[in-house]
């Protein structure tokens, strides 16, 4: 069951690889082959050195909550509230941020700097979502 009753993400050119990684239950982040900088969401050139050479790099999936919100009022008809949105800083690089949801967690348990780790859920044959869990 997906955490939110939302349409699944639609992969598009730069992001195909990312969602394929999710199907393998791997969190992969685009990384510049020349300067090693990670970037997310994926984009064609490196924002630091403008190189076109990049590859997908499997990351640990561990990070900390950098920001969060608890949405308590439905922003769209039919949305179930409350739900959380978290912004996670992945441990591989300072400022490497990824948006997601924290699952199996009460809103009161969420605060900035708590450690989290990635988890995956096959919500359909076509789509695997990634989520975060509080790290042990």
């Amino acid at each position: 069951m997906p955490y939110l009753p939302m349409p699944p993400p639609v992969p598009y050119v730069e992001s195909y690889g990312f969602w394929e990684g999710c199907k393998r239950h791997e969190l992969i982040i685009q990384r510049c082959k020349d300067c090693g900088t990670y970037r997310h969401p994926p984009i064609p050139v490196c924002p630091v050195c403008q190189s076109w050479n990049q590859h997908w790099h499997k990351v640990s999936g561990r990070g900390t909550v950098e920001a969060f919100t608890i949405v308590t009022r439905a922003l769209f008809p039919g949305m179930l509230v409350p739900y959380n949105v978290v912004r996670v800083e992945l441990e591989e690089q300072k400022g490497l941020l990824i948006l997601g949801n924290l699952i199996d967690c009460h809103p009161d348990e969420i605060s900035i700097d708590i450690p989290v780790e990635v988890t995956f859920e096959d919500v359909s044959p076509e789509t695997t979502m990634f989520y975060f869990r509080k790290a042990a």
Partner: protein, 381 residues
Amino acid sequence: MATMRDKYAIVGIGHTDYSLSSGRSELDLALEAIMAAIEDAGLGFNDIDGIVGDYPNRVDPMTIATALGMRNFGFFIETDFGGGGVPGGLLHAIAGIEAGRATSVVCYKSLNGSSKLTLPGFAFAVEPHEHGFTRPFGLLAPVAYAALSARRHMHQYGTTSRQFGAIAVACRKHANRNPNAIMYGEPMTIGDHQNSKMIADPLRLFDCYVEADGAAACVVASAERAKNLKQQPVYIMATAQACGPYLSRGTKDPTIEENETSYLAQQLFSMSGLVPSDLDVLQIYDDFTPFVLMAIEDLGFCSKGEGGPFVESGTIEWPDGKLPLNTSGGNLSEGCIEGFNHIVEAVKQLRGASTAQVKDAEIAMVCGANGVATSGLILRR
């Protein structure tokens, strides 16, 4: 770089009533605001030879030109980024005149933001590079992005919800002097703000703008041309656009200290030759209270992290504050006309015609929405 400081002026302004349900098309509203601005300038329709609209357009410039029988066009443009683009539209108007393609340019904004009565099939463009990394996780409206930024600021600097509320209370106070404000006649205390419904923690209902139906417009011309027109000109000392280092919409690169608002401030102050203490009145885009607080810091009115104490100090409240903010009520309480209401109010202040008139107001700033790209103006009488 050749300076255009004071070479251009706003020579006319116009706007409709702002309401929760206009019952009119956005074209209808735009025409009223534009015709009022042209009349205010003492110009005729055929004097207008340039138009600045917005993108994506609810009311495209060609429809305006056709409706008003305008024949002398040399310049038209649509400025992107909604509230971030609005002040930058005046930069575009100036560019058209500098290029010798126009002499009198109308800029406008029109929307049925409350009633949603709009062109069938109208849609904002999909966020660039979004690629499914925001909406599937429930970031479905800007309030959610604002909430993330607000929470981060509270964590880094100890900013509180009550401090966000001080901004809401000030704007409501000013709206209560403005009969055209949607929230006219509805006072708000800090207690009311704190009791208002939570939308996306930490943001409450009263941290968010009031959706509105309405339109506003202005006419830009050279200072030379302005001398012969109807109103005392309001001179444009500086206008600029700026872009922030955003990883995706709503997520600024945290390894870079500056953002679009600080880049904007550098440009506006360098073009005008002014410093923050020269400003008499501020109109800062207020879709959400935390963004106003952060803009006050990034524009240089106080240091980073000091925005909370600054807005609680009384400084932003008319009539006793040194730097009154959003003196017609802003998007928060006058109604969201995507910041064009801020331009109109800045001009009124400098003409001595505001409903919360700052004594001897000489210099006003308009700062656009943040979040990806922004723009701004410094105006003087």
